[in-house]
């Protein structure tokens, strides 16, 4: 996901004024994923939202303390929490198809072995299916797939709770306000 361009950055201006413009754009970028990323199957949106959370986190990490009100530091930690849970969801989304691919390959491998065992016969005897090369792999692969599926469901639920909590505490409005504040000397 390409980051939105930030207009009106001024090299001759102060750090705080420029960083506030940048952080405001990164905050909009993150918040604009809602509501579409709240759908559990929205794999691409969830992944892109993780990148948006990461961008907001790093700009706040670099500037919150010297430049903004205290809430900006909290917001940096919130952005990291979002990035982490969305990252874990993404890991499941990447891993599950790979487990499925290995299972499909295993099936093909076993089928090839059965064809070899059938030789030039007209039919396949039931005992030909005994002790196939992939026979011992199924339990583990099924367990892994089930684990990833349910873990992903739970992580998505956690993400929803996290986001609801942020909305409840006024994350966006409070960060926008903090970006206008300047620390007292």
């Amino acid at each position: 996901m390409k980051a939105r361009k930030v207009k009106h950055l001024d090299p001759s201006g102060t750090l705080a004024d420029n960083a506030a413009r940048l952080a405001a754009v990164r905050l909009d970028e993150l918040c604009d994923f809602v509501p579409r990323a709240l759908d559990a199957p929205a794999v691409d949106d969830l992944h892109a939202m993780r990148i948006a959370a990461k961008r907001l986190r790093y700009v706040l990490e670099a500037t919150a303390e010297p430049c903004f009100g205290a809430y900006a530091r909290h917001a940096s930690r919130h952005a990291k929490a979002l990035q982490d849970v969305l990252g874990d969801i993404h890991d499941c989304d990447v891993q599950r198809p790979r487990v499925a691919r290995l299972m499909a390959e295993q099936r093909e491998y076993d089928a090839a072995e059965l064809r070899r065992r059938a030789g030039s016969g007209d039919d396949l005897a039931p005992d030909a299916a005994a002790a196939l090369p992939g026979a011992d792999a199924w339990a583990g692969l099924e367990a892994l797939d089930a684990h990833l599926r349910v873990r992903r469901e739970l992580l998505h639920q956690h993400f929803l709770e996290l986001w609801t909590g942020l909305e409840r505490e006024g994350f966006r409005a409070r960060l926008e306000f903090a970006l206008k504040e300047r620390p007292t000397a």
Partner: protein, 158 residues
């Protein structure tokens, strides 16, 4: 994960260009400070720390982009992104293998062969990722990325 080093004298009223020079210099040294032992596959936290350092460096390069000469910044930023991608090629299987090991620690005997089979693929990817990273580390040394980044920071002051 290592905490980001403090940028000396960074304050709200500091000139944007001076903040750029200081931030890029510190984040650059931080990044290359993690380069030693990063290819050791028994010690996976080094790769993670260096990857986080690339993100911090990228963040400041993007934040302070208007302060830099565009033609000087773009190729350097591209190289940092390439390094980050190579670190990711190693880090992703590192994370997956750690998770699979945790799974194997508690799983039953019946599940073990299937998980081991999946793990073998992740190990092959880790090896491949390490080779990609080794080549990338050599390449950034050959092109003098460390020096170019420090020069970029210094040129802002002129």
């Amino acid at each position: 994960m290592a905490k980001a080093k403090e940028i000396p004298g960074l304050s709200a009223g500091l000139a944007f260009s001076e903040a750029a020079a200081r931030s890029v210099a510190v984040r650059t040294d931080e990044l290359f400070g993690h380069a030693t032992d990063v290819l050791d596959m028994d010690e996976i936290e080094g790769v993670h720390a260096m990857r986080v350092a690339t993100r911090r460096l990228r963040a400041v390069l993007e934040l302070y982009a208007p302060c830099f000469d565009r033609d000087e910044l773009r190729p350097v930023l591209r190289e940092v992104k390439a390094l980050a991608a190579a670190l990711g090629a190693r880090r992703d299987p590192d994370v997956e293998l750690a998770a699979l090991d945790a799974f194997l620690d508690v799983t039953g005997e019946a599940e073990r062969p299937g998980i081991e089979r999946f793990k073998a693929r992740a190990q092959a990817q880790q090896l491949q990722g390490n080779a990609v990273l080794a080549a990338e580390l050599q390449r950034i040394e050959d092109i003098g990325l460390h020096v170019r980044l420090l020069a970029l920071a210094e040129h802002v002051r002129r």
